[in-house]
């Protein structure tokens, strides 16, 4: 059963890779761009899912860590470091921030945690917007005269949309693999135990604040990867890419698709990234303006029709089999 699921996943990834290549051949570069963007969101949503979906901690400021990843990458790259050196460094920096923020917060619950993370997200954006000496303020990075160096892989330069798409797809696949491992490990089960009943989990000998902090910190790895790739891919970062709305959309992707379920999350991302684009294409002309209006309405309708998410988690059944 599980093997079949894994094969299906690999098949799915291959299909997407081929589809992207087809779009590339047909010169639909914009669509490849959207696919890459969706890939970045999948990375972010997978990270956020670890906190919201598995551990049950509502995080409304996840985008701040994406921003920290992207900004640290932009800064390091303009100092001459290569992508492969920046990636681990940025992950480390981002996780350090996440750990330091998480440490005092782990005894807060539910909405309080949500609000503090929201506050931290806004603080990060405001600092990026105002600390001219480091972040170049609203003008963003890199500064005039500096550039973000392109990614090189075995003397091969990544410069087309499709090559970035494959890079992102690789990291998405690797993340899914890693998350599957975590999910079935002792730690992964501890995450879910905390979500289901924190007091019971504690009684079973789980050090809940440590495990929560672990989940909080690991999730930042995915945000950092997404941020580093984004900075290299777009070649420019500015505070407006990291607004509160982005965090909110991420939460919606996770919750609408089906919390705790990787397939559900991918579906959620496709829906939320794809739907506005789809509406843009189908509505056409003047109606393009109305797409966000429709999008808001659809969000309400979807939550009412399927409050458990479109593809909900089947964890319970799986858990009993283990």
């Amino acid at each position: 059963m599980l093997k079949k699921a894994k094969l299906l996943e690999i098949f799915f990834i291959v299909i997407i890779a081929l589809a992207a290549y087809l779009l590339h051949l047909k010169q639909e570069f914009y669509l490849v761009h959207i696919l890459s963007l969706a890939g970045i969101y999948v990375l972010l949503a997978l990270g956020l899912n670890m906190v919201i979906g598995y551990t049950g901690l509502l995080d409304l400021g996840f985008i701040a860590f994406y921003a920290i990843g992207a900004y640290s990458a932009a800064l390091l790259s303009s100092k001459g470091f290569s992508f492969w050196a920046i990636l681990p460094t940025s992950i480390l920096i981002t996780c350090a921030f996440r750990f330091l923020l998480g440490k005092p917060l782990m005894r807060l619950r539910g909405d309080y945690l949500a609000i503090v993370t929201l506050g931290f997200g806004e603080i990060t954006r405001l600092i990026l917007n105002n600390w001219d000496a480091l972040t170049n303020g609203p003008k963003g990075l890199p500064r005039v005269g500096e550039t973000i160096r392109p990614i090189t892989l075995f003397s091969f330069h990544l410069n087309s949309e499709i090559s970035y798409f494959y890079l992102i797809l690789f990291f998405v696949a690797a993340s899914i693999f890693a998350i599957r491992r975590i999910e079935r490990s002792k730690i992964g089960r501890a995450f879910v135990a905390i979500r289901e009943d924190e007091i019971a989990a504690e009684a079973m000998g789980i050090n809940t604040s440590y495990i929560k902090l672990l989940s909080f910190t690991i999730s930042a790895v995915f945000a950092a990867i997404a941020g580093v790739i984004y900075a290299h891919w777009i070649g420019f970062v500015s505070p407006e890419s990291f607004s509160f709305w982005e965090s909110v959309f991420l939460v919606c992707m996770v919750a609408l698709g089906g919390m705790g379920n990787i397939l559900g999350i991918i579906f959620g991302v496709t829906l939320l990234v794809g739907l506005p684009e789809f509406l843009r294409i189908t509505l056409g002309g003047e109606f393009v303006l109305y797409r966000m209006l429709l999008f808001g309405l659809l969000m309400v309708i979807m939550t009412i029709l399927r409050p458990q998410g479109i593809i909900p988690e089947k964890r319970m059944a799986l858990e009993l089999k283990d």
Partner: protein
């Protein structure tokens, strides 16, 4: 750059802003008290209220009768726009939140975000993506009270806010309906068992919160002279901070939190850095939550969720 000469203007500005925050935060705190949910769309109601006020003002100002009678003009504008915003608030609850009451706690939040997005775009598309000027109803006259200068609009905002807050306190503590709200807020299941129609109480809470939010929207328009479709977000976040600061679910707490936040923010902007004005609000919020998660006046245990 800052010296003691600016402390009074900043203080007055802070109290004015604080009064507005306090009015908005009442909507958050009352809803949270009863349903334990963050009504994310409340900030859009503030924006909508500001626009309703704008329509009504420009409509009534066409009549010389109202032009000559300021008190009647303001009363009718405020009351009518309160009704409209209140109905909007209750309608949002009925359509977007009530079907989700039995689901997990994240879903109403997402639905609220959808509503927020819908309303913002609705106002942007049907009215204007640009800022709209607010008619000045009465002249800004400066008054000198000792070392303090305060203008007529600031006095008006502070008086109106305090008036509504006192009225709300009276309503909640002294009337039968108000006591029903308090009962629902302390334990909604038991309130239901006591024969309270909790559905109508919830509608009422949304109506009152939204009506006060609408008033706050008009006051923002009068204070700054212009309104925009995306103005709600900042006020919403600040007001929510104020509600948490005072102790969420606690009505006097929301008022205290609003005034404190307004004052701290203006003083911080004047004495430390105006670019980081908004950062102070969030730092205060984080510190309060870490060290006193129940807020300044909150009695609700943090684990009740």
């Amino acid at each position: 750059m800052a010296n003691s000469a600016i402390i009074f203007p900043e203080l007055v500005n802070g109290i004015t802003l604080g009064a507005i925050y306090a009015l908005i935060s009442l909507g958050y705190t009352m809803v949270y008290g009863v349903l334990l949910m963050i009504n994310f769309a409340h900030s859009e109601i503030v924006m909508a209220g500001a626009f309703f006020g704008l329509f009504l003002l420009s409509f009534f100002l066409k009549f010389t009768f109202f032009q000559n009678n300021l008190l009647l003009l303001l009363t009718s504008v405020f009351l009518l726009s309160m009704c409209v915003s209140g109905i909007l608030g209750a309608a949002i609850e009925r359509l977007a939140y009530r079907p989700l009451r039995k689901t997990n706690r994240l879903m109403p939040l997402i639905s609220a975000i959808g509503v927020s997005l819908f309303l913002q775009n609705l106002f942007m598309l049907t009215l204007s993506p640009e800022a709209k000027p607010y008619p000045s109803v009465f002249p800004a006259v400066n008054f000198q009270l000792g070392a303090v200068t305060i203008n007529s609009i600031q006095i008006f905002i502070i008086i109106i806010s305090i008036l509504f807050m006192v009225a709300l306190e009276y309503f909640v503590n002294r009337t039968k309906l108000g006591v029903a709200i308090k009962a629902a807020s302390s334990d909604i299941e038991t309130a239901k068992l006591m024969g309270i129609n909790t559905n109508s109480i919830i509608s009422l809470v949304f109506f009152i919160g939204a009506a006060l939010g609408g008033v706050a929207g008009i006051l923002v328009g009068m204070y700054y002279g212009s309104i925009k479709y995306n103005m709600g977000f900042t006020y919403g976040i600040k007001a929510f901070t104020a509600a948490v600061l005072g102790g969420i679910g606690n009505i006097p707490g929301a008022m205290l939190g609003g005034f404190m936040l307004g004052i701290l923010e203006s003083l911080g902007a004047a004495y430390i850095s105006s670019a980081y004005k908004d950062v102070f609000a969030f730092i205060i919020l984080i510190l309060v939550l870490i060290f006193k998660p129940t807020g300044l006046l909150g009695e609700r245990a943090q684990d009740k969720c």
